[in-house]
Amino acid sequence: GYNTSAVSTPEEEIQDKVHFIFNNLSNSNLEDKAEELSQCLEADYLEWFSQYLVIRRACVEQNFQELYVAFLEKLQRFWNRVFQLVLSKSYEYVNVLLSYEKIRFSTSDRTLLKNMGSWIGILTLARNKPILAKDLDLKYILLDAYSRGRLIAAIPFTAKVLDSCKKSKIFRPPNPWLMAILSLLKELYNLPDLKLNLKFEVEVLCKNISVDLREVHASELLKDRPSPSRD
C-alpha cells in the first residue's frame, strides 16, 4: 500500500460522510454536495481529503474524473487552496508509482499510473493550466524510462496526460511544449525494437489530438542517454 507523510485524519464519522458524498456525487448535485462537504470537513483535514480524492477516487474511478474536477471547481469557493493541494498530491503519487520497482510487471499498477495520467491532464491541460517541469517533467520521465527499461509504464502514462491537449485552447497543437514531447515520442516510436503496443499508444494519441505522426519531427535526444539495460 501507499502512504504519504502523516496527515491529520478526521474522526470516523466525518470520514463516513465524505465517503457517502463521493458515492453519491453526480453532475446534477455538485452544488449541494460541495456545500455539504464544506460544512462537515474542517480546513485542517484538507490534506487528508486531497489524498483520499486522488488515491481512492480519481485514480481508480477513471470514468468520474471529469466529475471530480467539476466538484473541485465548486469546492474552491470554500477552500481556495484545494486545487493546488490535490494537484501536488497527484504529482506526489505519480512519482511514487513511477518509482515502483514492480511497475514493469504489474498490469494493475500500470493501470493506476495511466489513470493518474488522464487525471493530471484533466486537472491541468484541459483547464489551460501548465504542467511545470519542476512538478512533472514528461521529457525527463521518458528519457529516464528509456535508459531504465521502463517505457512500458512511461509511454502510456505520457499519452494519457497529453490526451487532454485536445480540450485545451493553449496546449493543443502546435503548442511548442506539446510538440517537443511529441518529437521525443516520435524518436521512441522509431526505435527498431519498441513494442508494438507502445507504438500503438503513440499512434492513438496522435489521432486523438489530430496530429499526423508522419509530420512530427523526431528529436535526437536518445543518443545522449545511456542505452537501456537488457534483462
Binding site: 463516513d16 460522510k17 465517503h19 457517502f20 463521493f22 458515492n23 453519491n24 456525487l25 453526480s26 453532475n27 446534477s28 448535485n29 449541494d32 455539504e36 481512492r56 477516487r57 481508480v60 474511478e61 470514468n63 468520474f64 466529475l67 494493475s108 493501470t111
Partner: protein, 172 residues
C-alpha cells in the same frame, strides 16, 4: 441461459437485518465502501419506487427502473445510468443477461430473491474475465432458509459481511 452467467470475481456477502433496519443498513454500506456505481434490487415494483423516493430524500444519487415501465423509458434510464448521470440504480428484476456495466462494482440485494436463478441474474456477470465486484444481500429472518438453498444450488459461498472489506476485491 444460466450457463452464460458466472459468479467468478464477485465477492458475495450477506447482512442479517430486520426489515425496518434495511435503509439504515444501506446507509452504513454507502458510508463505508468505495462505490463507483451500484445497482440495488427490490422484489416488487412498488418497493422500487418507495425505496428510490426514500433514498433520494436522504441525498443519494439514484434513478429507478422497473418491469412495469415502458421499454422506451427503461432504455432511457439505463442509457443515462450507463453514462454516469447518476451513481445508483434501484430496480426490480429485469435483467436476463447479468449486468455488463463495467463501472458497477457493487450490487445490493435490498430484498433477497426467492430463487437461485433470480439471484444469478442479479449478481452474475456475463462471461468477461477480470471484473471484480461485491454483491451484498440483506437477509431477514424469513430469508434465512432461502439463503442456504441458493448457496447450495449455485455451489457458491455467501459470507457474513466483514468489518472491513479489502479494496482489491472490488476496486480495480
Amino acid at each position: 441461459l444460466m450457463d452464460e452467467l458466472t459468479l467468478k470475481g464477485v465477492t458475495q456477502y450477506y447482512a442479517y437485518v430486520e426489515e425496518n433496519k434495511k435503509v439504515a443498513c444501506l446507509n452504513a454500506i454507502f458510508s463505508k465502501l468505495q462505490i463507483n456505481q451500484s445497482i440495488i434490487f427490490c422484489n416488487s415494483v412498488n418497493r422500487v419506487k418507495l425505496l428510490a423516493k426514500k433514498i433520494t430524500e436522504l441525498g443519494y444519487s439514484c434513478f429507478y427502473v422497473h418491469a412495469r415501465m415502458a421499454q422506451e423509458d427503461r432504455n432511457r434510464v439505463f442509457h443515462d445510468f450507463r453514462n454516469g448521470a447518476c451513481r445508483n440504480l434501484v430496480c426490480s428484476d429485469l435483467f436476463t443477461r447479468g449486468i455488463d456495466i463495467q463501472a458497477v462494482n457493487v450490487v445490493i440485494n435490498f430484498d433477497f430473491p426467492k430463487n437461485s436463478e433470480t439471484y444469478l441474474h442479479r449478481v452474475g456477470r456475463s462471461g468477461r474475465f477480470g471484473h471484480r465486484g461485491l454483491a451484498i444481500s440483506m437477509i431477514t429472518h424469513d430469508d434465512r432458509l432461502n439463503l442456504y438453498k441458493i448457496e447450495q444450488e449455485l455451489a457458491t459461498e455467501i459470507a457474513p459481511f466483514p468489518a472491513h472489506v479489502d479494496k482489491s476485491l472490488y476496486c480495480e
